[in-house]
Symmetry: C2
Subunit: 405 residues, 2 copies
């Protein structure tokens, strides 16, 4: 198909006057409706141990909320603390506390000349935004299909004591859908690091968020670190944001006893405790892992057709375009659409002119800079199936036009 | 009454085997029950502007929640952001952000050799704990009946550029019940400070928490600061912790446009937004200021008799003990019981042996150090009226015995 023909097809699409924001990985109203009972009444206000959830206290969360997350994360309740509605806040605060107070037995990071994090790319823009805001230097490392390049990571951390952390989304990674292999988990746990307070920030955001029958499993990073003689190396984050309500769920942090004691000590200065009413609502609604897995199957029924529509549209319009590819994630919330070098920004612009707001090109890289300008994060979850079918076609046309220019 | 007789009376009290924790200012179950509708169902999930409160977003809070706090604080909605369940967290985070990033146009406090806060004493232990944890030096200044000693404050801030803040509880202060006079508000707003980023941390925790018909009013610190040419000087904090549920309310921060823009910028890195479902529940339940004031009247009916029981017991047992006095707050949650020098710790110990856990002596002072060991914070809210009547008698006996020793 020649440039003029592509342009004509794109212009025709533009005439449809679509208006769609696909910039973020938001659950759809239909997904949120699956947790409607959370909007209902709470029969009583007593936790299992008699705690009045309405009153102050309980900085590490309700015991039954810890037990529920323990079951979901395959950890014991003592390894988990449960907090408010945002795991992102737990990640931010872990780093802010490390800056202000230092990790157990170590100097505050604020006293150091430089603090560096490794950032598997493409990755999650909000992770990188935390580093950027807090003045933490970022070194990108390549993310493969089975996790980040552990050879390069090993080389970097062995010699640079300023490298204090690495961001990891171990399952159905944002945005590629990568699933870490057991060997990668083992290698990360076993790294010999120049920094003695090196930490893995393990954002287990999509642990239960399968899109196919192949329900991937990733070995426990906490167990692997303990076995490797680095029991304090990992902080694990999870939430119900994409299980119940994106804005009104509950979030959890899991780590070693020493890390959790450190966390509790510092967080107790900040708050008397999280919202235990919402924790109890969640425990009553979610019940146990089996019930959560059934709920996730309902999410999958709503999400999988949207991903399929994206794949179909891309296949049809982009299947024969050289240098274009996309991931086919088996879980999570995103597709990574790879353009020929230098064509991602232009595609976003053309899509916007056709009424489709995409995540800014470069967002999946530290400082928003994709060196080859070739990654686009596609977020199919929020629009309706009809909308996403149209939009995927429009995005494909925009990319095809960007390539032909 | 001689020592032996006092001791005998104390020992008799001990035999009752009371077990009561009066260490914190927690609302009673009866108070929490006043907000039972919050445990009920939420009819729909749409805010007035159509926002789906279940989903992500809205880092400054729901417009109607901002409007409600605006009404309660006598400010416009644009001057207020609404967050999660803890105003303490907002205070902590304001200071943490000032340390990490600096206030608008100023260097991060972490880059300074010293940061100092003024602490009116006796004051709120959790304020002081934040400073202590974050390495902020504290200078106590005397709190009078109508606010802190502004003469001494003016002298200190004029010459010491490390003084970046002052803690204030302007109405029914914890623990004395002091109410700031209009002249004090004016003086604080007009202070000439060596630091150009000096801030007043205005914890308006008990704004609507009257115990008598005399409903005190304190002039707006934001207005006073603006009039005095220091529009960015004050951060105002409030919450519904002692209006609805202590552990599951909503909290607000009010300040100048520049300060709120700074807040929003940094908090947007930490979270995608607060729990808007709970904000909408609160708006639907609390409705408006008139309705909140009716609710506060119901709180007062439960609280005022408990304070009266404390006053009666103290009067009867301690009325003739030299060097003993107590405040008679007209609002708030606490009574400051003043012992003769060096008798507060001993009284806490004797009370504990009689089954009554009090706030540790010294808690109302920076570093927990009451130089004269003479202040005890009495928290009558949580126990039942029968319990508090007994407990106040027991505390009075413990103090009387401590004095007679």
């Amino acid at each position: 198909m020649g440039h003029e023909q592509i342009k004509q097809e794109y212009e025709q699409f533009k005439q449809r006057g679509l208006r769609l924001d696909m910039s973020r990985g938001k659950p759809s109203p239909e997904q949120l409706a699956l947790s409607a009972p959370l909007l209902g009444g709470l029969d009583d206000f007593r936790a299992a141990d008699g705690t009045d959830v309405r009153n102050y206290g309980g900085v590490v969360g309700l015991p039954e909320a810890r037990a529920l997350f323990g079951e979901l994360l395959e950890l014991s309740p003592e390894q988990v603390v449960v907090d408010g509605n945002a795991s992102l806040a737990l990640m931010h605060d872990t780093i802010a506390l490390a800056l202000l107070h230092g990790l157990p037995g170590h100097a505050p990071w604020r006293s150091l000349a430089e603090v560096t994090f490794l950032c598997p790319v493409p990755g999650y823009d909000r992770h990188f935004a935390i580093c950027q805001a807090l003045g933490i230097r970022m070194i990108p490392v390549p993310l493969r299909e089975n996790g980040p390049d552990v050879g390069e990571i090993a080389r970097l951390v062995a010699n640079d004591a300023s490298i204090k952390g690495i961001w990891c989304v171990p399952k159905y990674a944002n945005p590629t859908g990568a699933v870490y292999g057991a060997d990668v988990v083992e290698a990360l746990a076993s790294l010999r690091t120049a920094a003695t307070d090196f930490r893995i920030f393990w954002d287990d955001a999509y642990r239960l968020h399968h899109l196919t029958d192949r329900k991937h499993s990733v070995p426990s990073i906490l167990d692997a670190c303990a076995r490797a003689g680095h029991p304090d190396r990992a902080f694990v984050y999870a939430s119900t944001s994409k299980i119940t309500f994106a804005g009104a769920g509950i979030a959890a942090l899991a780590s070693s006893p020493q890390n959790l004691a450190w966390w509790q000590k510092h967080v107790s200065v900040r708050t008397i405790g999280p919202d235990k009413v919402n924790q109890l609502r969640h425990v009553r609604f979610l019940k146990d892992r089996a019930n959560v897995e059934q709920l996730m199957d309902e999410h999958r029924k709503l999400l999988a057709p949207k991903f399929a529509a994206v794949f179909t549209a891309f296949e049809r319009t982009l299947g024969d375009v050289a240098g274009v590819s996309w991931t086919r994630p088996e879980g999570g919330y995103f597709v990574d659409l790879v353009t020929p070098p230098g064509r991602a920004r232009r595609t976003v612009q053309l899509a916007r002119e056709a009424g489709i707001v995409l995540t800014p090109a470069g967002a999946s890289f530290p400082y928003g800079e994709d060196p080859d300008d070739e990654h686009l994060r596609i977020a199919p979850s929020f629009p309706s199936l009809a909308e996403i079918t149209q939009a995927a076609h429009g995005i494909a046309l925009a990319l095809k036009l960007a390539v032909s220019e």
